[in-house]
């Protein structure tokens, strides 16, 4: 594995976390927990895995990324801006009147890089499947990626989509589960148990790749393995820590959908600068 690339991605992931906190502090509301837990995945996708062109968001050869868990859009907005899809200054307009950066991603607002609106959970994997089916129909080597939450797996539509991807042998679909074990009301296991994850996906006919979702080396290797899978879709179960990178937010369900106040923002940014 390219050590230099890993280090670069680690720097990017840290930058994304910094941007996420800054945006949320300015916005005064939003979802830090899942944005932080998926920051390493966002960094790997946009700075190594995806075939994309920030200067040409509608590029007809691009891979598509679908954010099914729309509430972690601060992470997506941060990585899109960092990639050059739009100016970074715009991040500070998050959730404000007239902004293109709504509280959940809006395709209608026309923010470059947003493929579909999301926010109502459970729909994204189906969207990725549809794109992947179209790519196969066109005999294009394009791929479709979809980031889901583990709490989101409680939505029945995810499992409808899981059937569809396996039924159509969509080896150009790669799902990622941000497995941080927490949702708004608390531990996923207590709210509505979704375990065992790997066994469920396997039973639905998927190639399952289980990793530490904060180790960039493992993340990159997982995406490579997914690309190599033939005849079945792949899902990366990324074991993560909600709120990762900010000490007082880590592993706390309370930070699912609450923005840091001024003091907390300063403390969090200080931690992320080190």
């Amino acid at each position: 594995m390219d050590r230099k690339l890993i280090e670069q991605l680690e720097v990017k992931a840290k930058q994304l976390r910094f941007d996420i906190i800054e945006m949320l502090g300015e916005a005064g509301s939003g979802h830090p927990g899942g944005s932080l837990s998926s920051a390493d995945i966002f960094a790997a996708l946009y700075f190594s895995v995806l075939k994309h062109d920030p200067k040409n968001p509608g590029w007809e050869e691009r891979d598509v990324f679908i954010l099914s868990k729309g509430h972690v859009c601060p992470g997506l907005y941060a990585v899109l801006a960092e990639s050059g899809y739009f100016p970074k200054d715009e991040l500070m307009t998050l959730r404000k009147l007239g902004s293109r950066l709504d509280g959940h991603p809006s395709k209608l607002k026309g923010l470059p890089g947003i493929e579909v609106s999301s926010g109502s959970l459970g729909m994204g994997l189906s969207v990725a499947n549809g794109a992947a089916l179209a790519f196969k129909l066109n005999k294009a080597g394009r791929r479709a990626y979809c980031l889901m939450g583990d709490g989101e797996l409680q939505e029945g539509q995810i499992w409808e989509a899981a059937m569809t991807a396996a039924h159509y042998k969509l080896d150009n679909v790669c799902g990622i589960v941000d497995n941080n074990n927490l949702q708004i009301d608390g531990e996923c296991e207590k709210v509505m148990n979704v375990k065992p994850l790997a066994e469920k996906w396997k039973a639905f006919g998927w190639n399952v790749i289980d990793i530490d979702g904060h180790k960039l080396e493992e993340i990159l290797e997982a995406f490579n393995k997914a690309k190599e899978s033939k005849g079945k879709p792949s899902v990366i179960i990324a074991r993560t820590i909600k709120g990762k990178g900010v000490s007082f937010m880590e592993d706390q369900a309370g930070w699912h959908g609450k923005a840091p106040d001024k003091e907390q923002t300063e403390q969090a940014l200080k931690e992320l600068e080190n």
Partner: protein, 312 residues
């Protein structure tokens, strides 16, 4: 008079599209024979996708096809493809502005013996309330074919509503059809009957009955519920001074509501509405149900009598 189910027009429209536009794909949720999506499947198996009994997944999958440049038609019974999936339609089609074409078959009470779970009577209301959505309710098989073909050329989501029962074919191949432009079928001066779907035929026979009574009724085929042809409604109100709306749908939120919204804001005149009166249907033959739930020409005549009494 020749009778043909509007769903046959959907199937024919899909086949014609398939021949002319390689980007058209069709998805169906285990009802390909009933919705006539099977006609497309047989000719273009590579562009047909069986989605199983999973309508929510089907809508969102169509969104994926659309963002990859395809024009997906999703097909099922109206209750499932528009009702069960409303949130998917809202977020992935309407709020994403994607080119998803929704074909809802087995709408209305004329579904017959399958009963209320399968008789969509609320779908016009829940579709037309969505921003960016266009809603078409063709009156016969020929018009359904034209609507299906036209919808592929419209940017954004379109919901086309059609039915199971064989109904009179009242238009011809060369009858004009433009989405958003109402068709004037009969000129008249005492009142205007505005109808959609298979109720257009009932409106025409009601017009004949009224004529015998010396009443001159204008008849409008309002095949597009959204965007509504506002000019046609305003002209009808100004020129005839009384309106009767007719639909195979709940009175709340459907064609009658859409027309009334225009009337009260532009040219208040008396309106009477014929439709389902806040109730479910039941099992029975289509014709028996239309009789029992007062969706026949004689019910339109009765509404006309009432509206004329209120007319100043």
């Amino acid at each position: 008079m020749e009778k043909k189910a509007t769903r046959d027009g959907y199937g024919e429209g899909l086949v014609e599209l398939g021949e002319n536009n390689p980007e058209v794909v069709v998805l169906c949720a285990d009802l390909s024979g009933s919705t006539k999506a099977s006609m497309f499947m047989k000719k273009f198996p590579d562009r047909y996708f069986s989605m199983g009994v999973a309508e929510a997944d089907m809508i969102s999958t169509a969104a994926g096809f659309a963002l990859a440049g395809k024009i997906p038609f999703v097909s099922s019974f109206s209750v499932f493809v528009m009702g069960r999936t409303w949130d998917q339609v809202r977020v992935n089609a309407s709020y994403s502005g994607l080119d998803i074409k929704i074909g809802g078959s087995h709408s209305g009470i004329s579904v017959g013996p399958d009963g209320p779970t399968h008789q969509a009577l609320e779908d016009i209301a829940i579709s037309r309330v969505l921003p960016n959505m266009k809603v078409i309710v063709p009156c016969d098989a020929i018009e359904t074919r034209k609507a299906t073909i036209a919808s592929a050329g419209i940017q954004g989501p379109v919901y086309t509503r059609f039915g199971r029962a064989a109904v009179p074919v009242i238009t011809e191949d060369d009858t004009p059809f433009t989405v958003g432009k109402a068709n004037l079928l009969r000129e008249g001066s005492d009142l205007t009957i505005i109808a959609c779907g298979l109720m257009v035929y009932e409106a025409l026979t009601a017009c004949d009955i009224l004529k015998k009574k010396g009443i001159s009724a204008r008849v409008i085929n309002m095949h597009t519920i959204k965007p509504l042809d506002i000019a046609a409604v305003v002209n009808a109100a100004e020129e005839t001074g009384a309106i009767v709306t007719v639909e195979e749908h709940q009175l709340f939120g459907g064609l009658g509501s859409a027309v009334s919204e225009v009337i009260v804001q532009n040219c208040p005149v008396p309106v009477e509405m014929v439709g389902m009166k806040d109730c479910f249907g039941e099992s029975g033959e289509a014709e028996e149900l239309l009789e029992k739930y007062h969706l026949k020409d004689r019910d339109i005549v009765e509404a006309a009598r009432k509206v004329l009494k209120r007319k100043k």
